[in-house]
């Protein structure tokens, strides 16, 4: 029988691969695994827990179960093709992955994209934030025992997925935002579809709040649970709603505006308690702000090109190809080789539903990325989970996981 201390030393020396479970009778401590297959770990997150009775002494996240080598895959794709690889990282916020990668490539290409493209991207991204937060809201409720939250959250998410399908043809993994703009213009009737959503959402969010915000059981299980201080959030690099729930007043959309965020007005919700309930309130308030942003963008959508007009960079339209030999040649060259990007290295960042999503892209002047690294907020935020749960009860761990909102596709890439 190994003691807990021996076991932990062994884990540190040999890695976390082994599924060890042990009980140290003298110290009364037990090592157990939660996950990787567990209904409330939101995917394949595995936590090695050292528990003393019901209290969590130590929590070690073990990740990598969904590692698919997307960064390596980008290096074998051309610049346009890598979009289809990066979009699969954070699978609840696909547009953000495409957007941040495209922004980095555009910076290397040193091009400005047309205003309509900027607006379409921002509109889709902001709607994506709503659909992602709806999944979080549903699962947070479900993990706290409110089964119906899941039904409502997923019911409204369907509205967004239908809209994405209407615009891009796919419900997820769109590959729609490309370096230079977007792949196609918005389809006929998009205004009505957006209006349908923005008219419904404020009422729906009221419904959600009626269900959970003042629910005594929910309050009991979230208030003062999983507390993270602002200093810890800063030193552990937490971003997004987790940081804003500790009182860190920072949002890239407002503080370092990109794309069309400079043209819209919105507030950045802040809370100071740093517990699960604070994160809940920040996210719900963010949803209301996102509806406002979507309304403004739809109202002020500029006319004009929806992507950059350099024929060496973006595919010609089908109509053009029917008349012009040049266009056919460009189409052939782009499809077989792709375009080249001047050598250099850059980093672009956007505010995704989970925090700062960054893309570090290096070009050697060739037709495919030399290096494409994505800084995923879920990966970094997962480090603060241990700080939240250590010293708390095992049953409260579930509340903290749900409020961290980790997406394992983004964590493992």
């Amino acid at each position: 029988m190994t003691t807990t201390e021996e076991l932990l030393t062994d884990i540190e020396a040999n890695g976390h691969g082994a599924f060890v479970e042990t009980f140290d009778e003298q110290a009364g401590r037990m090592v157990i695994n939660m996950g990787p297959v567990h209904p409330s770990t939101h995917g394949v997150l595995r936590l090695m827990l050292v528990i003393d009775g019901e209290t969590v002494d130590e929590c070690l996240p073990v990740i990598g179960y969904l590692h698919t080598g997307i960064e390596k895959e980008c290096e074998d794709n051309n610049w346009r093709g890598a979009v289809t690889a990066v979009t699969r990282m954070d699978y609840l916020a696909n547009f953000y992955n495409e957007q941040v990668y495209s922004m980095a490539v555009e910076e290397l290409l040193d091009i400005e994209i047309p205003p309509r493209a900027r607006y379409i991207r921002t509109l889709l991204a902001e709607m994506n934030r709503l659909s992602s937060h709806l999944v979080w809201w549903g699962t947070q409720g479900l993990d706290m025992g409110a089964m119906s939250a899941m039904f409502y959250g997923f019911r409204e998410r369907e509205l967004f997925l239908d809209f994405f399908e209407m615009v891009t043809g796919l419900r997820m993994n769109h590959g729609f935002i490309i370096p230079g703009g977007v792949w196609e213009d918005l389809p006929l009737g998009w205004e009505r579809a957006v209006k349908n959503i923005t008219d419904q959402m404020p009422r729906r969010i009221d419904e959600y709040e009626n269900l959970l915000t003042n629910n005594p059981i929910f309050l009991e299980r979230t208030r003062g649970i999983g507390v993270l201080s602002a200093d810890d959030a800063r030193s552990l690099g937490a971003t997004g709603p987790i940081a804003r729930a500790t009182g860190i007043d920072w949002d890239l959309r407002r503080d370092m505006p990109y794309e069309a965020y400079g043209d819209v007005s919105f507030e950045v919700p802040i809370a100071t308690e740093g517990d699960v309930y604070a994160r809940y309130r920040v996210r719900v308030a963010e949803m209301r702000q996102s509806v406002k942003i979507v309304e403004q963008l739809a109202k002020n959508m500029p006319k004009g090109d929806f992507r950059h007009q350099d024929p060496k960079l973006v595919h010609p339209s089908r109509r053009e190809m029917a008349h012009s030999m040049e266009a056919v040649i460009h189409h052939f060259k782009l499809s077989t080789q792709g375009y080249t990007v001047p050598p250099g290295a850059t980093y672009a960042a956007v505010e995704s539903p989970r925090g700062e999503l960054g893309a570090f892209v290096v070009s050697d002047g060739g037709t495919s990325p030399y290096r494409c690294h994505v800084r995923d907020p879920s990966f970094v935020n997962l480090q603060s989970l241990s700080r939240m749960v250590e010293g708390g009860l095992l049953a409260d761990l579930v509340a903290s996981i749900a409020s961290t909102d980790p997406i394992m596709g983004g964590v493992d890439r």
């Binding site: 082994a18 042990t22 990740i63 080598g69 910076e107 690099g237 850059t346 990966f379």
Partner: protein
């Protein structure tokens, strides 16, 4: 975006100075310069920093060379780099001196090689098929499938106390 390149020996002091000025690490990753600059140092540890007060960003590349590239760890300065340094070690084989728990993070513990290195090909790892008989008739009294599937259990993860199981 401008990149400041510094040698690995200066990184620890530089990190402390940057931290004192209010810079926070947003991202830390590796870069294999094998085909980019074949003459210079082979690896780089690329760090993205942000300063909330002045709303600025900067990129620092710590150049490192050698068969066993080693860079001082900055987990003491910015605890957030813990996972990032582990990922860089996993993907590039760059060791971070002073890291509290430098093990693989995304790849399995017993994995050989570092996948994001440029000399690590995409198609060079054979797919592991587990040999399985198409049809197996169990003799009476034998537990179905026990000890005959040839699954290398060590590679799938060890179960402590397996031998004691009834």
């Amino acid at each position: 975006m401008t990149v400041t390149t510094i040698p690995a020996s200066e990184w620890a002091d530089r990190a402390r100075a940057l931290h004192a000025e209010g810079w926070q690490v947003m991202d830390l990753t590796g870069l294999d310069r094998l085909r980019l600059t074949p003459d210079g140092p082979r690896f780089g540890v690329v760090v993205q920093l942000i300063n909330h007060a002045s709303r600025q960003r900067q990129m620092i590349e710590v150049a490192v060379d050698g068969d066993e590239p080693t860079v001082p760890s900055v987990t003491e300065v910015w605890p957030t780099v813990n996972f990032m340094e582990r990922e860089t070690y996993d993907m590039y084989g760059i060791s971070f001196e002073g890291h509290p728990n430098l093990t693989r993070i995304l790849m399995p513990d017993e994995w050989e090689g570092h996948p994001l290195r440029k000399d690590y090909g995409v198609g060079k790892v054979p797919v592991e098929f587990i040999p399985q008989p198409i049809m197996q008739v169990d003799s009476p009294g034998q537990t179905p499938g026990s000890g005959s599937t040839g699954i290398d259990r060590d590679r799938l993860g060890q179960v402590v106390g397996e031998g004691d199981a009834p």
